[in-house]
């Protein structure tokens, strides 16, 4: 399968400061890729290079097989970009703003009208289509920005911090919107963010970048496994009395990766939710269960882990 986004040793240096350092990235079509990292890690620069808006110092960036530096027009035709501080022509209406985008993409007026109506509908702005953008809230502008890229029906969409400056409820709506659109249209989405909890709700793959280098990249569940010596779930149980026979018994359960004792707690790392099996093992061994807690590894744990290492 052709890669939607690919970079090979992509490097960008500004006045002796390396912003992006030999970045290798491959994102398959249809992925929702969370591009994570603290501010100034090089996320935006990478996106700009992918779009052909900045020239890399060395290395290659490709979008659907097109070289971003050599064929920027082709790349821009199939990719949509929502910059971090997205702006519109404030004295024009939402519809006029989108019309401008449609014309710049060379759409016929008829097709443009259709797509504008449809896009505004998808993002829920049909009612205010003929209002001037200056009346819009930040959240509405973000949604209009999504509508703006839908006009050209891109194969790849780059969203730079799409949730910054929106209230929590708006963030959820925004992410749901992005996920729905990506699923329905088979669009590859690259979502850059430093807000982990938000991104992990909708991304199926993430890459964490720090100081211009990719620290870790992969599918979400895969990442958890690699980072924590095994399991994706962590079950904590507290027993009235812990016997080694019981520990052995739990270790034998299919899917349990490791069992650790810390004081009166047993910490079990496992691949799936094994609470019923563990409970039965305890009862069978005559143990008394006081409490049992389960948590799945949040991306945040992964993120924190990698960042303490960097």
């Amino acid at each position: 399968m052709q890669l939607a986004v690919e970079t090979v040793d992509l490097t960008k240096t500004y006045d002796n400061t390396t912003v992006v350092n030999k970045l290798n990235l491959s994102i398959e079509e249809g992925d929702i890729f969370g591009f994570l990292g603290p501010n100034g890690a090089g996320k935006t620069t990478t996106i700009l290079m992918l779009l052909g808006l900045t020239e890399p110092t060395s290395g290659v960036a490709r979008i659907c097989g097109y070289n971003s530096t050599r064929e920027p027009i082709k790349v821009k035709r199939i990719s949509g970009y929502v910059p971090e501080r997205v702006g519109f022509y404030e004295d024009l209406t939402a519809r006029h703003n989108l019309t401008y985008t449609a014309r710049l993409n060379g759409l016929s007026d008829k097709l443009a009208m259709e797509r504008i109506g449809e896009s505004l509908n998808v993002v829920g702005l049909s009612e205010v289509a003929d209002h001037k953008v200056q009346e819009f809230s930040r959240g509405m502008k973000q949604r209009l920005a999504i509508a703006d890229i839908l006009i050209k029906m891109p194969k790849v969409a780059f969203l730079d911090e799409p949730t910054s400056g929106i209230d929590p409820e708006g963030v959820k709506e925004m992410l749901d919107l992005i996920a729905t659109i990506a699923r329905e249209r088979g669009m590859t989405v690259i979502l850059s963010s430093h807000q982990l909890q938000q991104v992990q709700q909708i991304c199926n793959r993430v890459g964490i970048i720090a100081k211009g280098q990719m620290v870790v990249e992969g599918a979400l569940d895969q990442l958890g496994r690699d980072a924590f010596g095994g399991g994706r779930f962590r079950i904590e149980i507290q027993l009235a009395e812990t016997t080694s026979a019981l520990v052995d018994c739990i270790k034998r359960i299919d899917g349990v990766v490791s069992v650790e004792r810390s004081e009166d707690l047993l910490i079990i790392s496992c691949l799936e939710d094994l609470r019923p099996q563990i409970a039965r093992a305890i009862v069978d061994n005559g143990g008394l269960l006081i409490q049992m807690k389960i948590q799945s590894y949040a991306l945040e744990d992964i993120y924190m882990k990698y960042f303490t290492e960097v």
């Binding site: 808006l53 027009i73 035709r77 970009y81 929502v82 910059p83 519109f88 022509y89 703006d148 050209k152």
Partner: protein
């Protein structure tokens, strides 16, 4: 090419609906009309005086109509031409100085550049729109002044005078375009 034309039309309509343009137009119009008013008042005197001079007599009488644009009076010591020389570059600068900057500040520049158009298309489209705006402004003022002048002095321009006027317009536009750049 689509990019250039699209940017051009967008900028042209922006120019014509902006407050900046309205104010500039009003200013230039006011200055032009007052200069011409004074010139028309003084033109008879100017012609008589010029015909007394033994050297340039024939010249001046031949281009009476164009005298409208070059004569100044005591009340306003500037001719229409002087106004144009001052104002046209100012208009050019005013239309062009923040063409790209304003897009950058409002956050629309990166969105614009991520569309499938060449970067030149953005600059050239904006430049062309500026030049066309300036041309329309200058041409309409010169024509308006010609109309007022016709009524005031009652001398129609000869074909040569018309051609000279056109040439003046062309040079004025090029001059103003440098202001944009």
């Amino acid at each position: 090419m689509t990019g250039l034309i699209t940017v051009f039309w967008k900028e042209l309509s922006d120019n014509f609906t902006s407050w900046r343009f309205m104010i500039l137009f009003a200013l230039v119009l006011l200055a032009g009309v007052s200069a011409i008013y004074v010139a028309a008042e003084n033109i008879r005197e100017a012609v008589t005086e010029a015909s007394k001079s033994p050297f340039a007599a024939t010249e001046t009488i031949r281009f009476v109509f164009l005298k409208l644009y070059t004569t100044s009076g005591q009340v306003i010591p500037f001719s229409f031409l002087t106004f144009i020389v001052f104002f046209v570059p100012i208009v050019g600068i005013a239309l062009g100085f923040d063409a790209i900057n304003s897009e950058k500040n409002s956050g629309t520049l990166s969105k614009l550049l991520s569309q499938p158009i060449y970067r030149d298309a953005v600059i050239n489209g904006k430049f062309l729109a500026g030049v066309v705006t300036l041309s329309i402004m200058l041409a309409s003022i010169v024509m308006l002044v010609a109309g007022i002048g016709l009524i005031r002095i009652g001398v129609p321009p000869s074909s040569e005078e018309t051609l000279r006027l056109m040439a003046f317009l062309g040079i004025g536009i090029v001059y103003g375009a440098f202001g944009w750049v």
